[in-house]
């Protein structure tokens, strides 16, 4: 069976992907949020496994992670919550987290669990490319998991090519030099970067993340790229409105 991520990437149109922190606002909101997002037409979901020290994240995701851990979220609990998810949800699901919890769970055991649940890919920002290739690639492949790598405006062309070669789904294009949630809109630098990457004719489509928060930024990001990921803005929406108005948020991004 082809991975759901690859299938989704074949479809026409721009993809909207949403990140949320599992266990936030309440411990058992995970399944509800996923089901609702799919119902509202979201194309792909990143399920954040909370970590105590999320280095690449700004204050919004930090706070949601701390709250989720405080609510009692653990790796095992997330896997339990997701156990039946494929009975109701068919869009691609990606687990995004930091490497240490995965390492403690056991990389093989973690990937095996993801496979059993029907997770399609992983994003582990602090699992670097060279370590992945030399130590873990076989395990990911054995369980049919796509590993998603990041690039940033500072990533050299040479390294982008290496990352493209190593990827078999999409490339996560970090919109600007920043942690999550910290930039105001997109300026010329971002536009130039988006265009530069577009002209590289990479084998993997790109999905832009970091700093997408409304219809304008979504549109700007997806002018060249295949899709965009929204994280902090969605978490903020959950913080303010709870989990009952997810549709309003999604509609505000894309109708």
């Amino acid at each position: 069976m082809t991975n759901r991520i690859n299938q989704k990437l074949q479809e026409n149109g721009k993809l909207l992907s949403i990140y949320f922190t599992a266990g936030y606002p309440s411990l058992n909101d995970t399944v509800h949020i996923i089901q609702d997002l799919e119902k509202c037409g979201v194309d792909m979901i990143e399920i954040g496994l909370p970590f105590s020290d999320p280095l690449a994240d700004g204050p919004t995701i930090q706070k949601s992670s701390t709250a989720a851990l405080g609510n009692g979220m653990t790796t095992e609990r997330l896997f339990e919550q997701l156990a039946g998810i494929r009975e109701t949800v068919s869009i691609p699901l990606i687990v995004m987290g930091y490497f240490n919890p995965m390492l403690q769970y056991g990389v093989d055991a973690f990937c095996k669990k993801c496979h059993e649940i029907g997770i399609d890919g992983l994003i582990m920002p602090d699992l670097p490319l060279n370590v992945y290739r030399s130590e873990y690639e076989e395990i990911f492949k054995k369980y049919g998991l796509i590993n998603v790598f990041l690039i940033t405006p500072q990533t050299s062309e040479e390294r982008i090519r290496i990352i493209d070669e190593a990827s078999d789904g999409f490339i996560y294009m970090v919109s600007s030099a920043s942690v999550t949630g910290s930039k105001e809109g997109f300026g010329n630098t971002q536009t130039e970067y988006f265009e530069r990457i577009a002209t590289m004719n990479l084998k993997n489509p790109q999905i832009v993340g970091f700093g997408i928060k409304d219809a304008d930024t979504f549109e700007a990001a997806t002018k060249n790229a295949k899709g965009a990921i929204i994280g902090s803005a969605f978490i903020k929406h959950l913080t303010t409105n709870g989990i009952s108005q997810i549709e309003a948020f999604v509609k505000s991004i894309r109708n």
Binding site: F51, A56, L69, F99, T152, Q154, T155, V174
Partner: protein, 394 residues
């Protein structure tokens, strides 16, 4: 067995660079250039000149007669407390500010626990006319007020880390986030032998001047280069790494590390990483680290802000695992008692971090002819408030 970093930054199974892609260009630039830059003649000349004229090196190796009598062995103190700014930290910041200049960086960030590294960084930034931002946990800002004032006076901006335990670990997170947000003009001066490769090795090499001096100083005083033991306290492990460096391959030299046990290893309030930690990833480095079964990093505790770190440098994880070093831990009370003893026997008030190293005598008995060198990593001025509260001195 090698006790030094290999070319990928591994000490045995510990080390490496587990960094998000956002940091890759900066860390890779440093990795590919640090050794070449460091060993250029002009760099070495500037580095050693500043260590001599500005820091006041070599720091004395002092025979502590009364302490020796008390503990029945020959004790030498490596007086890093006499360095400009009052601790070993400045050896590293002098090296790294020169490195930053060579790399063309204009903005410096740092994390600090006790404030010693922050002060040492603010100092070299003033010296070189560079912008300086120091991240410090909110809790540490309160307990190390004199150092906060010093940093401000030196022209640095002190930014509170408000997340997590609001101590050293969180200050380090904030500094790393700053570096992600400012990838072009900024150099991150890490203050200990921690972080992604090449930091542990680079910091260790800058600090290795400590053991380089001990060797010739001991030769002058004792007619031999090698002590029987070298003792140091370990937070992230930079004073220890520098004190051990030139003795690591001399197996007859005993290497002793003292960590902070806080209120006791089993108390749940401790920072004794080698006893309580498991292998994991913290701040870009695979090393022993205090964490839950689920891989969440736990909040350490020590009375000394500079040892209040849930991990330990990868060199030390390897020294621990390979059995090359003996690891001990000292409680708050043991460290405070040892600090008082040093004050009253030798007239030297140590930093509380350093007090932990001196607590070794409460744990280990040495032979009469053993030569024991202790890294006196810093002076106690910054800790006066804590001493006053603890010993009811006011």
């Amino acid at each position: 067995m090698s006790y030094h970093a290999d070319d990928k930054g591994y000490y045995g199974e510990f080390g490496g660079a587990f960094i998000p892609e956002m940091l890759y260009p900066n860390v890779e630039e440093l990795r590919s250039k640090y050794l070449e830059i460091m060993y250029e003649d002009s760099f070495q000349k500037d580095f050693h000149q500043l260590l001599k004229d500005y820091v006041g090196r070599p720091s004395p190796l002092y025979f502590a007669k009364r302490l020796s009598e008390k503990h029945g062995c020959k004790i030498y103190l490596k007086r890093e407390d006499l360095n400009h700014t009052g601790a070993h930290k400045v050896n590293n910041t002098i090296g790294q500010i020169l490195m930053a200049k060579k790399l063309g960086k204009t903005r410096i960030i740092a994390e600090t626990g006790a404030g010693q590294h922050g002060v040492a960084t603010a100092t070299v930034c003033a010296l070189m006319g560079m912008q300086c931002i120091v991240y410090m946990g909110e809790i540490d800002i309160a307990r190390q007020a004199p150092n906060v004032a010093r940093m401000k006076m030196l022209g640095a901006e002190v930014r509170p880390a408000l997340s997590g335990s609001r101590t050293l670990k969180d200050a380090t997170n904030e500094a790393i986030r700053d570096w992600i947000n400012n990838p072009l003009d900024t150099h991150y001066i890490i203050g200990s032998a921690i972080g992604p490769h090449p930091y542990p090795d680079m910091v260790t090499r800058f600090q290795s001047v400590i053991s380089e001096e001990i060797k010739w100083q001991l030769q002058e005083k004792e007619g031999r280069e090698l002590p029987d033991y070298v003792v140091a306290c370990i937070g992230g492990g930079s004073n220890a790494a520098g004190s051990y460096y030139h003795f690591l391959d001399e197996e007859e030299v005993g290497i002793i590390a003292v960590e902070a046990a806080g209120k006791g290893i089993a108390s749940g309030e401790s920072a004794a990483t080698s006893a309580l930690g498991k292998i994991g990833i913290i701040h870009g480095c695979k090393t022993l680290l205090m964490q839950t079964d689920d891989g969440q990093i736990t909040e350490p505790y020590s009375i000394s802000a500079g040892l209040d770190y849930p991990g330990v440098g990868p060199m030390h994880s390897h020294l621990h695992q390979s059995g090359r070093a003996e690891f001990y831990s000292a409680t708050d009370d043991e460290a405070m008692t040892a600090g008082l003893e040093l004050s009253q026997l030798e007239g030297i008030i140590p930093a509380i971090e350093t007090g932990h190293a001196f607590a070794i005598f409460q744990h280990k008995k040495f032979k009469a002819d053993d030569i024991v060198v202790i890294s006196l990593s810093g002076r106690g001025d910054k800790d006066l408030n804590t001493y006053i509260d603890y010993f009811k001195l006011a």
